[in-house]
């Protein structure tokens, strides 16, 4: 199982805060980038938002690039550029 979280404006646009995916359903070898592609196909209504190049991704609470490998049990998060401080 891979848990996927969304935050900020992206969460509002997708109307989804979290979803659980069967790790088998994503292409192998799976990376953050292939997961993003998978989501665009599985949820076509999200395609425009998920194609936004400014979206950041984290695996297990650490920012990573789209090439970063995913393994079963990971927590993945997608969110817009941060605006704290």
């Amino acid at each position: 199982m891979i848990r996927v979280l969304f935050f900020g404006q992206l969460k509002e646009q997708l109307e989804c805060a979290a979803l659980d995916l069967d790790a088998q359903s994503i292409a192998t070898p799976s990376t953050l980038g292939t997961l993003l592609n998978y989501l665009q196909h599985a949820y076509p209504q999200w395609r425009d938002q998920l194609q936004d190049k400014s979206i950041l991704g984290a695996i297990n609470q650490t920012l990573v690039s789209s090439e970063h490998r995913l393994i079963d049990g990971d927590e993945v998060a997608f969110f817009p550029p941060v605006t704290g401080g």
Binding site: V82, T83, G85
Partner: protein
């Protein structure tokens, strides 16, 4: 110490905590960020701050750890508020102590610059025209370059010293 919290903080108390029983450090630099009434061409009436609870603390810890590799620091304190805030409310506190002022000034600014770019907080402003998500600003991203160029300089210095050792 790092806190992410709904409640306000007391600047005087935080300063005292940094300065008390700390005779080796001669410098304390504190920064406080406040909610402005005007931002990105909108009149702001309030703010909602969202964060990624599982990641926020870790991201801030990583930033402090990185700052400590660059400067010799005494104490570091970060408080970042979340939830609903009003105009002029305190949002963030960063306090740094060091033996001399240069490290405390630089590390404080470094922590704020990195927090602005890497800590998972998102601001949603309440404006007279309705709510809007604050857009990330290129100037915050550009602010990183001053630290990255320092990093490049350090790495180059390391390389040249390594070369000297090899030769």
């Amino acid at each position: 110490m790092i806190s992410v919290q709904f409640q306000d903080f007391d600047f005087g108390h935080e300063y005292q905590q940094l300065a008390a029983n700390n005779s080796k450090d001669g410098a304390v630099v504190c920064f406080v960020g406040l909610v402005r009434d005007y931002n990105q061409a909108h009149s702001v009436t309030g703010l909602h701050l969202e964060h990624y609870p599982g990641m926020t603390h870790k991201a801030l810890e990583d930033i402090v750890a990185e700052a400590k590799t660059r400067w010799s620091l005494g104490r570091v304190r970060i408080i970042h508020r979340v939830g609903d805030l009003g105009i002029s409310d305190q949002i963030v506190f960063v306090g740094v102590t060091s033996r001399h002022r240069e490290a405390a000034f630089a590390a404080n600014q470094f922590i704020m610059d990195y927090l602005k770019n890497f800590a998972p907080f998102w601001k949603k402003e309440l404006t007279v025209d309705g709510p809007r998500w604050v857009e990330a600003q290129t100037k915050d991203h550009a602010a990183l370059s001053r630290w990255q160029s320092a990093e490049v300089a350090i790495n180059q210095a390391k390389k040249s010293s390594n070369n000297e050792i090899v030769t």
